[in-house]
Amino acid sequence: MTMYFANFDQLIAMGGHGVYVWSAFAVTVAAMLWLAVAPVIKHRALLNDIQRDSQRNRQRQRDSQRQDQNQQAGQSAAVSNATTDSPSNQSEEDF
């Protein structure tokens, strides 16, 4: 299989049609690359997003559990009308 063109410059010029052939190939390769690369990037972004979502949900659950504990602690404090704040509340403020 011998190269059709004698040297590199002929390959670029392609007998005057080079600009059309190379521009067509450039756009095609660019479009195909974008088609192949975009989903890979999107895939990683989706995984990050899902991971952040589940972390946020876990965080929200932990907060709501802590609030329930505070309410129970608060009620028991009110019942025994102790004057000092229960430690868990203080830690809440400066958290």
Partner: protein, 263 residues
């Protein structure tokens, strides 16, 4: 047990999780093979194939225009079949495949149109010629745009998938009619000049790279469709447990990799 119980392999095939895991294994091999085939086809067509007697070297654009046109049309049928399978067996995965196939097909149709137009310049002297092949390709692009626009127009995902599937099916019934009527219309007004894709009368040295390129494009289409469908699976199954575990597992491996890099 009724007939459908032993179709479990068919329904297992349809489970997004099964597809996600298995496609994960195929992807590396598929991408390597696709790259190799496309590279050989390109180099062969560009540098080694002989130029056309009449058109000179501009005919080399055939090596991307014809495969892209084939895939644009085949892609529409693949999309419609995925939609039909979704409508008939109510399989979520095939709706996802349909939704992913639409943009890929549209980009391939655009490639076919662009290369056809650029090819027209040296052959006919103008970029846009109402040639039968290119006009049908333009209508196909509108069909793709319609299916894509319909998918994103609905709140409920189910309604969007069903509507998209129905439009794709209506489209497939119409494609042969459109192609035949555009051909008839073209011959009505224009004496038959050289056809853009006179493949059979080509010299074998010219024809072989074309076959390689068509194979390369089919592999490329399969690769990109799998990639897009995997994303669609993550989007739709994002609050299932297996996806959350997957995301957590991926993150830990990445953080380890980052730490290894940062030391």
């Amino acid at each position: 047990m009724n007939l459908f119980s032993d179709w479990t392999w068919f329904h297992r095939l349809g489970s997004p999780r099964w597809f996600y895991q298995n496609s994960g294994r195929w992807l590396p091999w598929l991408s390597v093979v696709t790259l190799v085939v496309l590279a050989t086809g390109l180099v062969w067509g560009l540098a080694f194939a002989p130029a056309d007697a009449k058109q000179g070297n501009s005919f080399r654009i055939i090596y991307i225009h014809v495969p892209a046109s084939f895939l644009a049309l085949a892609g529409y049928y693949i999309m419609a079949i995925a939609g039909a399978v979704g409508l008939i067996w109510k399989m979520k995965l095939s709706y996802m495949v349909m939704k992913s196939a639409a943009p890929i097909g549209a980009v391939l149709t655009f490639i076919a149109l662009f290369t056809g137009a650029v090819w027209g310049k040296p052959t006919w002297g103008t970029y846009w010629v109402w040639d039968a092949r290119i006009t049908s390709m333009l209508i196909l692009l509108f069909l793709y745009a319609g299916v894509m626009a319909l998918q994103y127009a609905y709140h409920s995902v189910d309604a969007a998938s069903k509507a998209g599937a129905i439009l794709a099916l209506v489209g497939t019934v119409n494609i042969p009619i459109i192609y035949k009527s555009v051909d008839w219309w073209y011959t009505l007004h224009q004496p038959a000049t050289i056809k853009l894709t006179s493949a059979p009368s080509m010299h074998p040295d010219m024809f072989q790279p074309l076959l390689v390129m068509i194979a390369g494009f089919y592999l490329f289409y399969a690769l990109v469709l799998i990639l897009q469908t995997r994303n669609e699976i993550l989007r739709r199954e994002r609050n299932t447990s297996w996806v959350r575990e997957l995301a957590a597992a991926k993150m830990t491996t990445n953080t380890i990799a980052n730490e290894a890099k940062s030391e």
